[in-house]
């Protein structure tokens, strides 16, 4: 049994859901407060996020930098579009590998689910080719996995 689901939707979307045993307020804060983000948004074992800029307001900037501690690393930049405290985050992000990937528009919602929270993250890519390319890139750069979930329809 898995707490997480991951599906492609249409040609341009990837949808991830996950349940957490904590109130929406806490899950939302763990997505917007740098000191908390740096504790979990790390990808494969051994990676850390020494730089975490997160201006949680409309138009605010996002910048995450990861390193494997052995000279390897890359970063992500983004901007917030909309934040509804404890309920919804809409932002745009791109990976820099170092060339930037096309923008990924992500809407994340946090819904009360019993004593916990149901988080739904819906990504929208510019087109199906970008989605395929982004997912393929994720293979070489494991950190992409932090953001991308895809379940084969086959």
């Amino acid at each position: 049994m898995s707490k997480m689901t991951l599906n492609t939707e249409g040609d341009r979307h990837v949808v991830v859901t996950r349940r957490f045993a904590a109130a929406p307020e806490l899950v939302y804060r763990a997505h917007t407060e740098p000191a908390l983000i740096q504790r979990w948004l790390l990808g494969p074992a051994g990676w850390t996020m020494p730089v975490c800029v997160n201006e949680a307001r409309s138009g605010g900037k996002i910048r995450y930098e990861w390193t494997d501690g052995k000279g390897g690393g890359f970063y992500l930049t983004g901007e917030y579009v909309e934040l509804v405290p404890f309920r919804k985050i809409v932002h745009v992000e791109r990976m820099h590998l170092p060339a930037p990937t096309p923008d990924n528009l992500i809407e994340t919602t946090f819904e009360k689910d019993g004593a916990g929270t149901l988080m739904t993250m819906r990504m929208t890519l510019p087109d199906s080719e970008t989605r395929a390319a982004m997912l393929a890139t994720g293979m070489e750069h494991g950190m992409e996995a932090s953001y991308v979930r895809l379940e084969a329809l086959i």
């Binding site: 806490l26 790390l42 395929a132 390319a133 393929a136 086959i154």
Partner: protein, 112 residues
Amino acid sequence: MLSLDTAFSALADPTRRAILARLALGETTINELAEPFKMTQPAISRHIKVLENAGLIVRRVEGTRRPCRLAPAGITEIDRWLGMLRDALAENYDRLDQVLASMKPKKRKGKR
């Protein structure tokens, strides 16, 4: 060695995903595939060619028929990779579970 780039490009098309879903039920011919998709045989043939080049399906010769079926190797490769992605994200969220367990709700003051 199969290219995941090619495989994912092949999977980017909804008709091709539907073809794979159909082939998951068993081997079939292009004629039989064309029917439910309301597409011409050449159109289906083009999709089949893309899937074949991506290593996702194989075809064999049986008299005048050339039935297609899923290629286990190609599918396994994609499954393996998807599993890796799932595992990496699952790890993040398992860590988040720990972070959440260590947090206490902030006391909010009168104003909201």
